[in-house]
Symmetry: D2
Subunit: 163 residues, 4 copies
């Protein structure tokens, strides 16, 4: 069974630095031999991370809100069509072995919270989650300030689990 790393974050249009980070995270996930999982939409962090992983030769799973591929990123290899709207956020985090969360809105926060609820390690990359999420997450919620640092935390988490 392959290791899946979920990458979450803003669904809206990103500025250039945010796009670069999302792309870089996706590329590094692929270079480590992990499968990338995102919400699969053709916008924001989902699209850029998928493009990064795809162009680095990785496999990209998109867990879609819709019941068709109409709004799917063209960098998705495996489209899981749920037709469930935001209820698919739960599937995103359960299916991920570790979650990296870039800055985002309410959807991203819901995924961070659902991941912590499911006892998943979440790496907040480039943002401060605030007191309620920190209290809810305790040791499961880690902070990173660069794509490389986030990936190192993923690798460390996966290694600890194996031992």
């Amino acid at each position: 069974m392959q290791t899946i790393v979920g990458v979450m974050g803003a669904g809206r249009t990103l500025d250039a630095p945010a796009r670069a980070v999302a792309y870089r995270v996706g590329a590094l996930v692929a270079e480590h031999g992990w499968v990338l999982l995102t919400g699969g939409s053709a916008c924001g962090v989902m699209d850029e991370a998928s493009r990064g992983a795809h162009e680095a030769g990785g496999l990209v799973v998109g867990v879609l809100k819709g019941d068709t591929d109409d709004e799917a990123s063209r960098h998705v290899d495996i489209a899981i069509r749920t037709g469930m709207g935001d209820a698919r956020n739960v599937i995103n985090v359960l299916s991920s072995d570790v979650v990296i969360a870039l800055p985002g809105g309410a959807g991203t926060i819901s995924e961070v919270a659902l991941a912590l609820k499911a006892d998943k390690t979440v790496i907040a990359l480039g943002w401060e989650p605030g007191a309620p999420l920190r209290a809810a997450g305790a040791d499961l919620l880690l902070l990173a300030s660069s794509a490389e640092e986030a990936i190192a935390l993923v690798a460390g988490t996966l290694a600890r689990r194996r031992h």
Copy 2:
């Protein structure tokens, strides 16, 4: 169609003051003629708010994680058995016309975030949501410091929608 007010919050055992607030919120929801909706479990805010509404003669809907009533509060009148675990959090907030969120953990935060994502007004009662949720919620996220104040904000929200 009846007006439904969702009440979310900690699923663990509450201390006496927290229990009193949850009970009071449930009772006030019922006294206003609204249907109470919770996650339906026999613990924490869900159980106390349901007891409050039930004893005030109200109708209580519990949207359960499980596929049976085994973990349901005995104060639930209508049990919606989802068998979907935390994916039912989405149903909780979509089915509520307004959401009141008492202090809680990751599950409660996910419900606040999902409610804001769905353009629902959320009233945080007795806690400070922190910067990420405040930014995500903007005008939809209101704060209250007592059950009475929360209920007044619900009434105001419902009245504005009617006009």
Copy 3:
């Protein structure tokens, strides 16, 4: 906790005799003091059964496909908005103590099958389920040829469970 009877069937426009049966089933559910649960749409069996229960003074729960009430029957009292499309069929049958299935299409067949999978008694009213469903259902799948007969089978099933 109240007893919930689920009524499933065709979502398309019904002819006059089919409408009369659906209405009658809804009315009888209400007259027995049971809560009626349907898929909540403003068409077909869902709408007619809801109208029947509503006009007989009963309580009607509609578990909606959508995330708003836009397509909901106006005879629904409690709208459970799932935003999950046909995945809500699972919730329909899990939440029902017994299921009555009137003639319908693929959606109705899926509900019958999901109900049998969940060990629910299903009463097929006015149609022949065919060999695969009969084999899958065994003793859980009952046949009725009138609304009154279906309701008697519901009552018998509920009584047996109590003993």
Copy 4:
């Protein structure tokens, strides 16, 4: 985006001929370069088809009922953990471009019905669906009597869609 073929069927222990067919279907799906999707359990058609595809060098997606891999087939490459029980049946069929249904029980029938509801072509391999499913499915429901014939029908369906 890769083409996904869903293979459904009995979750219980299979006799030798049924195992051989399920294995053969999985192997042929992989040999055609399609991704195999199943419900992911370590039993019945799901397990055998996954083994067949895996040993033929294909990629296997398992959409699991559970929120962990505890009951997953060891031939699954990509585990989509839903935690949603039978509601994941909807995801199985929405995510498949074509569905092959081997003989099975209530779960399999629900997947056939949900697939037809979602306008998917379903190939019933080695069983007779009966009048209600035939009426619901019309031109979408095809019959095959061997793994090879089922695969030919999949190929034909995919080819027609491309033109």
